[in-house]
Symmetry: C2
Subunit: 218 residues, 2 copies
């Protein structure tokens, strides 16, 4: 089984590198958004599109086991979006994303945000060819998720701590959370934010612009 | 790949049936608790043990990628608990549970609560030999999880809607949620509750007692 998993991951890696080259040729920044179900990825995407849509061409690939609800939410904002359904599958892989990119046909210079299947475990292992993995974790889930799901928090380049408007109503110690993050990945920046209230979004938008700029210069 | 997955699942099924026979011989009720990360499974277990520990012998198998935090939380209540760490693995399987049961060595007549890895996708496919799967879903995750992760909600025999003390602070429409549940699994009972405030726990405890009684009679 282990050997087969290695072959599977190696095959995925090859396709991911092809995606990376394909994206670079078109000057496209692609980010892989990951979280457990219901951390608020789609709501954050909606808000980001509304707030940055005039500056950046944002286009979206939505991954889900079933339904096209998320792609419809994004399309309702006038944003190009395609839905990938994985059926019983637990993650997007590079082959699915390649086919998604072909359907999306993103404009040169676009920012493609890929919303992965809601799962804090399996998607951590699969490179999609993205420039960076962004993990979203909400304050309603407790402080200890980084040490309990370390693979995800090690694979990520940015951690968005979502739903901070709920902090007064839940038991969540931000210092303890930061300590757990530092235990598994000391270089991982943590940005607390609320897509509902708007707190903290400027830092996320700044990071996104910096990635875009970096990509253009690279 | 599909054929390999089928072989893997068939192998798991065989071990699960062995677990089921092993548990029946010892008159043990085993339940498989499933949710995405941070839905409040461990907090619900703690509360259940505190409230029912005088009536039922509750013992616990904790599944997690890393750390023994949850088993320590349960053991702190004077309850027997063993921790299984899956490493990069995304679910418990019947073989892991068999070894966990051997370490736990549950008393005859006990209720064994198995807390699966926090993941709303993969664990749905793996029978552990339990009597029933109980899925826990919190009001902070939105209404649409049943239709987005249908395999889990079809596999479950009971749905505990957790953290209802947060209802005044989140956008969550209970009727819409019930509608989505009915779409994927019309026979799935939904019990709203809060392990923090105590609301709705009586229904869960009643269900647990009924399962226990049914098991004894069977």
């Amino acid at each position: 089984m282990i050997r087969l998993e290695q072959q599977l991951l190696a095959g995925n890696q090859e396709l991911a590198e092809e995606n990376r080259a394909w994206l670079a040729q078109r000057d496209i920044l692609a980010l892989n958004l990951l979280s457990s179900p219901g951390a608020g990825k789609t709501t954050l995407l909606e808000r980001t599109i509304r707030d940055l849509g005039h500056d950046l061409t944002i286009q979206v690939i939505e991954g889900d086991q079933a339904t096209d609800r998320d792609a419809r939410r994004i399309a309702a904002l006038g944003c190009r979006a395609v839905q990938i359904n994985t059926g019983s599958g637990c993650h997007l892989d590079a082959g699915m994303v390649r086919r998604g990119l072909e359907r999306l046909d993103p404009s040169s210079g676009a920012v493609v945000l890929i919303e992965n299947v809601g799962n804090l475990v399996c998607p951590a292992l699969f490179d999609l060819g993205e420039q960076a993995k962004v993990v979203v974790c909400s304050v309603t889930k407790g402080e200890d998720k980084p040490i309990k799901y370390p693979h995800m928090f090690r694979a990520a380049s940015l951690l968005l701590l979502s739903k901070i408007d709920l902090l007064p109503h839940v038991d969540f110690n931000l210092d303890e959370f930061r300590g757990f993050v530092a235990e598994v990945n000391p270089r991982l920046p943590v940005m607390p934010l609320s897509a509902r209230g708007g707190e903290g979004l400027a830092a996320w938008y700044g990071w996104l612009h910096a990635q875009r700029t970096h990509e253009v210069r690279a």
